[in-house]
């Protein structure tokens, strides 16, 4: 049951990414291109996605997930170095390629060889990340 639901969720997620245009790197880079031919579509996608999810979060307190288990713990308020450094690195890769992890998977079926190479590189990056994360943990915070 959990797996079937996860499959349907993935399918809905993928359909949303395709239909919204987020598997088209031109639309993503167009959103980031503030000084060029700016494309506002991504803001509508984000807004459209945040609304149902905000409603879902309001239903969480004092309940349990339908298929059992527990809901995720409340958000960690700590904004650390890793969050900022990681997000900057991710943003650079996102700007260069126009792909982030969700659309990278969603476009594998029609993205050709380039999409496949991106996926392999991304998986390699994910394998390398724990090493870098440990390095960052080992360096004492400045100040």
């Amino acid at each position: 049951m959990r797996n079937l639901c996860a499959f349907l969720v993935g399918g809905l997620f993928g359909a949303g990414l395709l239909l919204s245009g987020m598997t088209d790197t031109r639309k993503v880079q167009g959103w980031l291109d503030l000084f060029g031919d700016w494309d506002p579509t991504l803001a509508f996608v984000m807004g459209g996605a945040i609304i149902p999810m905000a409603i879902a979060w309001r239903l969480v307190p004092n309940r349990a997930p339908i298929l059992g288990g527990t809901f995720p713990s409340p958000p960690d308020p700590k904004v650390g170095r890793k969050l900022v450094i990681g997000s900057v690195l991710f943003g650079m890769g996102w700007g260069l390629s126009g792909l982030c992890p969700g659309p990278a998977v969603a476009s594998l079926g029609f993205g050709g060889m380039g999409g496949l190479i991106f996926m392999v590189a991304m998986l390699c990056g994910m394998l390398l990340a724990p090493v870098l994360r440990n390095r960052l943990d080992a360096v004492p915070a400045a100040g």
Binding site: F13, G16, L19, D24, Q29, L89, R133
Partner: protein
């Protein structure tokens, strides 16, 4: 195109609905980088089946839809160097920051998570600077 924003809002609604179902039914956060990353580094071993099922849907449904629509275009750069650099940075960055556009962006901002908001500001900022430098200054992308 003038209808792009309508499709954006509609597709975004589907993405948010998917995230809402995953939260309310399975009790989990629909963050693409976390779901993939947990399989890659082994941290998500106990939930591997659920992760693989979600990724299968994420791959198969748009592939089928694109085929029905007569194909879809990603307009990905032909430069292998840029693709590899982009992929590596996305993989490393999302795992160090513990989230990407879906996890920090959609799931984080919707619960007013400070981490989600800060991450989103930084990855959009870094992405915009990267496009300025590599497109307008260097002409690489």
């Amino acid at each position: 195109m003038q209808t792009d924003w309508i499709w954006g809002l509609f597709g975004g609604g589907l993405i948010g609905t998917a995230a809402a179902i995953f939260l309310l039914v399975n009790g989990r956060i629909m963050g693409a980088s976390g779901i993939i990353g947990g399989l890659v580094d082994g941290t998500g071993r106990n939930t591997a089946q659920e992760r693989i099922a979600l990724l299968a849907g994420l791959f198969l449904v748009p592939a089928a839809l694109a085929a029905l629509m007569g194909g879809a275009e990603t307009h990905l750069t032909p430069s292998i160097l840029v693709i590899v650099a982009g992929g590596l940075l996305v993989g490393i960055g999302t795992r160090i920051a513990n989230g990407c556009t879906s996890g920090h962006g959609v799931c984080g901002i919707s619960r007013m998570s400070l981490r989600g908001i800060v991450a989103t500001v930084f990855y959009i900022g870094a992405g915009a600077v990267t496009v300025v430098v590599f497109k307008h200054m260097l002409g690489v992308i």
